[in-house]
Subunit: 266 residues, 4 copies
């Protein structure tokens, strides 16, 4: 009887891409809030979601340096489990509930890719970087303080997909206020049998369930974001028309569950 939460299934379950939940995450976020072309946002929504009539076009782009652990001290094996992520969330509505939809997301780690697909985060590989803040004072330290600046970028297969810069102005009293809408996701796994390749084996609209969500050291200020055109990608269709703000905070949560909203599997 093979073991493991994901592939590859193995005799001892040690080879699986990711250990089973609970999954714990703690990381640092650099992000930009902006308005994209409302038609482009509407075009990237899946079945089950409609544009938010009040905020259609509103979006955030996040760059996160993540540390992960499950039950076996995975945080002590950073070569395998630490990773970096970049993604975009756009406003939408699910049955009268304001939500955010994640059309594009990139990580630099296969364990994170596998967990993501399981959750409905449609992850691809990318190279993600953000300016860090270090405790020892230096021109290189990037303290979290008024005027503090943080760069971030995303590339994939050698093409730059996003360049961002955030300038901090002031702390945000209630950091959780930056995360007001739940995230809607798509669990999708195709069939390969001839004649069934457009009939996915899994096609579920899902809502992220985040336990113990915590935000620390949240700051807000100005932001810049460029999403240059790139072959084989569609992120750039969501390029900013107007940037609202830039922000930075530390974020943690755990994953033990997922809420399935709709099952579109044929």
């Amino acid at each position: 009887m093979l073991k493991g939460y994901t592939v590859p299934k193995s005799p001892f379950g040690q080879a699986a891409l990711t250990p089973p939940p609970p999954w714990h995450y703690s990381g640092d976020v650099v992000g930009v809030e902006f308005s994209a072309d409302p038609a482009a946002v509407a075009a990237c929504l899946p079945s089950g979601l409609v544009p938010d009539p009040k905020t259609n076009g509103h979006a955030i782009m996040l760059f996160i340096d993540w540390q992960f652990t499950a039950q076996d001290d995975e945080y002590l094996d950073p070569a395998r489990y630490q990773y970096r992520e970049a993604f975009i969330l756009v406003d939408a509505v699910y049955r009268d509930t304001p939500v955010m939809w994640c059309p594009y997301i990139y990580v630099d780690n296969d364990a994170a890719l596998a967990r993501g697909w399981t959750q409905g985060f449609q992850k691809k590989l990318g190279s993600v970087y953000q300016t860090r803040s270090h405790a020892a004072p230096s021109a290189a330290a990037a303290p979290v303080a008024p005027g503090g600046r943080f760069g971030a970028s995303l590339s994939t297969h050698g093409q730059r997909l996003a360049d961002a810069c955030v300038t901090l102005r002031k702390p945000v009293e209630n950091g959780l206020s930056l995360l007001t809408r739940p995230t809607v996701l798509l669990r999708y796994f195709p069939r390969l049998v001839a004649g069934l390749q457009d009939k996915p084996a899994v096609n579920e609209l899902a809502m992220s369930v985040m336990d113990n969500l915590a935000v620390a050291d949240a700051w807000i200020g100005e932001g810049e974001l460029h999403l240059p055109e790139a072959h084989g990608e569609e992120l750039y269709a969501l390029a900013p028309k107007r940037v609202e703000s830039g922000f930075r905070y530390s974020l943690s949560y755990s994953v033990t569950d997922l809420k399935i909203l709709e099952d579109y599997t044929a």
Copy 2:
């Protein structure tokens, strides 16, 4: 209506990890045929397969430099679509049919990872290298000739998982004779809903369907293979007890279909 064969689904279907089939592959293979511990081979078989009573323990380890294309000249974008792969196949029996089972496979590319999962190749990311043969004569050229030597290696997350070396002795008249058994695979996609995490959404035993299979320039000789122990991996349980041969050939085939053998989805 979002488009794309795999995630991420997008307005134009250009962002998906992989274009839809037909998928065409051409590449160079360096491989070693060997005998592993029969108990270790038996232990890595999935439900539906049993050890081959005549050859249990027999295995091959393959390192392949692949070029891929679908219908849109993907072979002209090697930064995105060219990749390297290493995997092990072990003998087994499916309902009286001698087959090979692929317990572990590694690639260095996310499009290949996504296609692999769809087929039932339980792919993880790895770094794969093989000695190449170049046409311009040199001590570095590695000609395909008697005594020609080819090294190969696999690493993941900075740990070496396999080291191989092959010394060619003579051409193989019928290269297809090296590929006699069909490959059995596992399509597996878990659920994340609490209480259902051990009830996968997809759990199918599948058989690879290879169209237009061709082998060119096949040579055989001696082989060496080391599968050192590595944390977070189980490949090393299949380390050689005895090496039979080493080989090298060029290989091509196309994928348009998959045969589902058993559906174990609950």
Copy 3:
């Protein structure tokens, strides 16, 4: 007494980035011949070289998949020694001798970087890819034949620096005719002592010495080349005004020596 041709010097000389010469190379070249802005070419020449009055602006961009070996079967350790390279050569004149000058070159391997600096190739790290030709027939095989197409690209730090495509039309009878001018290089190693940072410890104009130069399977046809603007790079200043041709060949040579043309060390 520490040993090793380059750093790091070590008790047994096994840790050095590269073994000592002779160095043997065999590889596959995809390239484009073109005309850049003559002023941009003139601006990138080092002291000791002047623009070629007859051909100023003429340049070639080469993408090479290299295999390397020295005296210890390094070609059997492809994870450490196989590499990919992209570089540009522009026409110039050294004391009445028509030469080519290499202003920018990128490799994906530290041993190649170290050898390069020693020769005067001013190497940085980059990700380089080219379409390969495989023997097993397939839509993915890219045969070397009339109409055969080969893509190539260069990226660094997640920015695309070059995209090329070559369409083969006919074999070149004498492949060596594609390599008529010697390559001039700059060996340069700065000082860090305060006050001496603009007085390099090594500043030598050098000419590449290639032993046993061989070209095989040379073909010529049409080419395309794009050198997009990128932050922290100046390659794009040499973007094509007109493309002359595209070509592909296999190349080998050995390095045992270097010719110092001028010593500008203060």
Copy 4:
């Protein structure tokens, strides 16, 4: 007149691997203090250094997540300038002065490699990871606190070279007390001209000059360190005989100068 502190020299000096000093660094250190085989330490010393009769064999291994900037906001381009480093320092004596010698050092970035060579850090490329500490509370956060644990690893070309783990016990009042000896380095740049390949163009024993050295949040506790054998490396000759402690701190300093101790250039 070409510009740039290092290669490649270019018309605007923007293409050079690294901007000129001052160089500013801020980062997080995870390290282990230990005793290696005294004969192995003695064997790795360069001319000009002798074993420290009182502490011969004493060594530290450091893993550092670095942020770098020069004068042009390089810290806002983390894809190009942020990097990770691992190195070993062993006790030695230079003319009656107790010093530390850096025989082996690895970074994951070419700008850092180039600066290192200039200083006398004999850098190669490697993959380096350390557990980070994030502000948002979580099982994944790794707070700096009694019992806090931090893993670290180094790999190169797919081989694991070092695995470390540190368990914090108590703060260190004066963090600078952890950095008592100056670091001695080797600036070494070979010649390639035939007959002169063992007569380096630069061969200088140097001492690191660190301006504005600061240590913050220093903690000490227990350490573990494994330096497994690896082909093409000699670090493992310095494997611990006994581990003294583990530690973690934040570190910053600037570089504007270097002290040349001895010039062995022929």
